[in-house]
């Protein structure tokens, strides 16, 4: 077994194969990075809209809730297919990458919106009241009072979602996006042994997600814990 792998290795490490894997890793990274960051930004915005109380914004809030509840309830693969066919119906000539990117953002936004919302709600409503009576407006209250206390509730689930999410982008291979999993299949079909190919794929996934996990831990340490360091 090992001797066979050793025999395969020089050919496996050929220019074409390595480039295929690296490009695929970049696609996976792009899907995750854009999905997570755009998702986080829009998700944040949605969560903030949901804490407003103005009557004028009732329809907007309702739309936000509908969006979040809808997209958290359908599987990623189904979203991917739906986006794929919607693009086709609309008649736009889009790449599968754009399709995957759209789906990824739709899903990530709905999940982070919910994570941020529950984080904001974990802060005692009396903190809002105290701020309100001191004439802090909504944004000031969120930024100075609520968010600093909500980070520790938001960060752990947010990062575990992001890390899960990197792996979920593998589903984009189903519509033909050449990301890591797809590249693995291609190389496997070319005759390289599955252990070698998917071993490499696994390693690349790890290289992408591990720094993110470390970053999450760092963020929790610097933002999440009570600044007194005591409790």
């Amino acid at each position: 077994m090992l001797t066979r792998l050793a025999e395969e290795l020089p050919q496996f490490l050929g220019y074409y194969n390595v480039m295929l894997l690296l490009k695929a890793a970049l696609i996976t990274l792009a899907l995750s990075a854009v999905g997570c960051s755009l998702g986080l930004m829009i998700g944040f915005f949605i969560a903030m809209v949901r804490v407003t109380r103005a009557k004028l914004l009732v329809p907007v809030r309702a739309a936000c809730i509908a969006y979040v509840e809808f997209f958290r309830r359908i599987p990623f693969l189904v979203t991917l297919m739906v986006v794929f066919f919607v693009y086709q119906v609309v008649g736009r000539n889009t790449t599968v990458f754009t399709v995957a990117l759209t789906a990824v953002c739709l899903i990530a936004t709905s999940y982070t919106a919910e994570i941020v919302r529950s984080g904001l709600e974990s802060v005692n409503v009396k903190q809002w009241e105290a701020a309100e009576t001191m004439n802090l407006n909504l944004l000031q209250t969120l930024w100075w009072v609520i968010l600093p206390q909500a980070w520790k509730v938001i960060l752990p689930p947010a990062f575990s979602f992001f890390i899960l999410f990197i792996k979920d982008t593998a589903l984009a291979s189903q519509i033909g996006v050449v990301e890591l999993t797809y590249a693995g299949k291609v190389l496997n079909n070319k005759g390289f042994s599955a252990v070698l190919v998917f071993g490499c794929v696994l390693l690349l996934y790890f290289i992408i997600s591990y720094p993110l996990a470390r970053f999450g831990v760092w963020m929790e340490k610097n933002l999440g814990v009570s600044k007194t360091g005591k409790r």
């Binding site: 005692n124 903190q127 001191m134 004439n135 000031q140 100075w144 009570s226 007194t228 005591k230 409790r231």
Partner: protein
């Protein structure tokens, strides 16, 4: 015209009426104490004044000018005159004691930061916490946190200070330190509306005692009138119960 006047104020939580037509005058420099059984609407009255609960009917007049609680501008202007201290202190947990006291004067009122800080330190020294300015709320006892909350309210230089059962959440031995602080304020001639269950204290510092029950003012007058010689059965019953324990 009284400095602060409430005319027929009504408020409700959902379908439950909590205030059923409150008429009340507060003069400048007066210490008014609201007493009465739980659920009589005392705290709600304070919350209505600062706009945390919207009044359903009636008017609140400050220096003769009605406050429009439906208008953000009017409400913000009114809140410049009030400061409220809550039963649960409600200090901002993510800020030091000093930051808690200075944030609103500096960032909202846009007062000079250095002067505000100086005043804040002086206020914290006055409430006996000069050595705690760098602490976080969760490092302090309940009594200390409540005194920070009082300093935070005073830093806003309110015309009327509202105290909502500020000793109810404290251990008995911590009550004294907070009451001493309030006593100090009453001697300075501050206008205060105090909701309290500390009857002896109320009797000592209040200029006017208001007995409330079921969202109505049943009796009001000097502490002696209302507490020693209540004229209604409901007030007599309440005083008897309170004094028995």
């Amino acid at each position: 015209m009284a400095y602060l006047r409430l005319e027929n104020v009504e408020a409700a939580y959902g379908s439950v009426n909590v205030l059923n037509g409150i008429d009340l005058d507060v003069e400048k420099g007066e210490v008014v104490s609201l007493i009465g059984p739980s659920g009589s609407g005392k705290s709600t009255l304070l919350r209505v004044l600062v706009g945390l609960n919207k009044p359903l009917a009636g008017r609140v007049l400050l220096e003769g000018q009605p406050i429009d609680y439906g208008s953000r501008k009017s409400l913000r202007a009114a809140r410049d005159h009030f400061a409220i201290v809550f039963q649960q202190y409600n200090l901002f947990q993510n800020m030091t004691v000093l930051k808690n006291v200075t944030i609103a004067p500096v960032k909202i009122k846009k007062w000079d930061a250095r002067q505000v800080e100086k005043d804040a330190v002086a206020l914290l020294e006055k409430v006996g916490l000069g050595d705690k300015i760098k602490s976080y709320p969760d490092e302090l006892s309940g009594g200390q946190q409540q005194r920070v909350a009082i300093a935070r309210a005073l830093a806003l230089r309110p015309d009327i200070l509202l105290l909502d059962e500020v000793t109810s959440a404290l251990d008995p031995e911590l009550v004294t330190e907070v009451l001493d602080t309030i006593r100090l304020l009453s001697k300075e001639g501050r206008t205060m509306i105090i909701v309290s269950h500390e009857m002896a204290f109320v009797k000592e510092i209040a200029d006017k005692v208001v007995f409330m029950d079921q969202g109505k003012i049943v009796e009001s007058g000097s502490p002696e009138e209302v507490m020693d010689r209540p004229s209604t059965d409901r007030a007599r019953e309440f005083m008897a119960k309170i004094l028995r324990h």
